[in-house]
Symmetry: C2
Subunit: 212 residues, 2 copies
Amino acid sequence: MKTLKIPEATIIRLSVYSRYLTQLDKKGIVNISSGEIAEGVGGSPAQVRKDLAYFGEFGTRGVGYNVRDLNQHIIRILGLNKGWKVVIVGAGNLGSALTQYKGFRERGFEVVAVFDNDVNKIGLTLNGVPIFPITKLREVVKEQEARIGIIAVPSKYAQDVADHLVESGVKAILNFAPSVISVPENVELRNVDLAVNLEILTFNLALKKNYD
Amino acid sequence: MKTLKIPEATIIRLSVYSRYLTQLDKKGIVNISSGEIAEGVGGSPAQVRKDLAYFGEFGTRGVGYNVRDLNQHIIRILGLNKGWKVVIVGAGNLGSALTQYKGFRERGFEVVAVFDNDVNKIGLTLNGVPIFPITKLREVVKEQEARIGIIAVPSKYAQDVADHLVESGVKAILNFAPSVISVPENVELRNVDLAVNLEILTFNLALKKNYD
DNA sequence: CTCCTTTTGTGACAATTATAACATATGCAA
DNA sequence: TTGCATATGTTATAATTGTCACAAAAGGAG
Ligand SMILES: NC(=O)c1ccc[n+]([C@@H]2O[C@H](COP(=O)([O-])OP(=O)(O)OC[C@H]3O[C@@H](n4cnc5c(N)ncnc54)[C@H](O)[C@@H]3O)[C@@H](O)[C@H]2O)c1
Ligand SMILES: NC(=O)c1ccc[n+]([C@@H]2O[C@H](COP(=O)([O-])OP(=O)(O)OC[C@H]3O[C@@H](n4cnc5c(N)ncnc54)[C@H](O)[C@@H]3O)[C@@H](O)[C@H]2O)c1
């Protein structure tokens, strides 16, 4: 397996394929073709095959793919077979929702702790996940060997929290605050900006002018 | 202004530029160059100018851009000068967080109603926003002239809710349920899948193998 | 065993998107 | 008024990503 540069769009699609395959597996479906996957997730059969081709040969010509087997391969490609531990900083509206989100666990992520600096929240639990004072971040991250941190504090504090997460040993950060933050090169960073998503919608509506 | 096909990446960046310009404007900064914008949001000056060039000429050669003026132009490009009304379906963990999210209003979005089918939630308000029974969706959407709907119900019901939103006259949908849904061509759809975002992070970590 | 159908894997091609280079316009100073 | 410094807008070039067509492999029928 060579380390060609893989398009990020390919990774996004693989993640979606995997979710779809998991559904099919639960329904007891054993075999599937690239065309059926494409139809299921909204794409083209060639795209599906090309995406998979970056990583190897997982199908059987004339037959298709074994659902469970292919899913296992994608899960391994995405690194989900490790069981990642996640910490969330900010036990507000969003942080609480994320902590209780079952979808993460289903994909191999375990939220082990939430951190806040509000004394009224510290000590409580969210769905069994304890809320610690932010001062314990380093200790808990080290002890639990958490590798992923989620930022759910007001933008103003996002960079501080990011620095703190990095310093604690976290290797990847998902940032929900709508602000540009910077981290060392060896730390992965992704920003999720929900307003941006709405604005893409309004741009397209404004372009079409058929919204009234 | 011709209607060339604008890359979606350009729209995402414009949205980020605008957020940054709003910050600068609040700080009282009047002028800015493409290089400074690039530095502020993490990009290249050429990229900034190219993105803007799709829509017109907003700067002065040798000088740069007027912060407020440029921001107004981008806001207009993104269609944010209209004041969009938004409805949210699902008053659970995520739906509640989104309803109370101040970041939407700051960008010109107004959440006018939330809908649920849980009798214990109906009649309550979230930050002043009323929770209606899902059966009132059509009526409220029509009356308020809401054009955007957000789906925050379990995946299982996402397609049903989408159909219902479309039937009610909504023209754009932001879907948070991790499932593939389909809508008529004339309705804009975007999916936000948070697990996918984490999986991109783990893919990159797994690739680098330096996470331990 | 051979042919035929099916569907993969892949290499060539096309389209899109980003980068870089530069000519053009502006303001200022002398 | 002229020349210079600066930063834009635009054109050309490079890189990336997606599409298409087809050869190769597999399995089943006869
Ligand atoms: N609510 C949403 O749906 C939503 C959507 C998209 C993005 N966001 C973003 O997510 C972030 C959180 O939003 P929210 O609505 O949950 O806000 P919130 O005010 O409900 O919660 C913020 C929490 O962070 C805590 N906090 C503040 N500073 C802290 C620090 N330095 N260390 C630790 N904890 C700290 C606060 O005590 C509070 O509990 C914001 O940046 C917001 O822009 C929120
Ligand atoms: N919690 C999160 O942080 C999070 C993150 C990403 C995605 N999501 C997705 O968002 C969706 C909602 O997640 P949640 O955690 O808020 O779940 P939740 O169970 O807390 O809330 C779901 C709400 O939807 C309501 N509902 C169910 N069916 C409905 C229907 N047909 N019409 C109207 N209302 C209905 C329920 O009464 C409930 O109030 C899910 O698809 C989930 O996968 C959630």
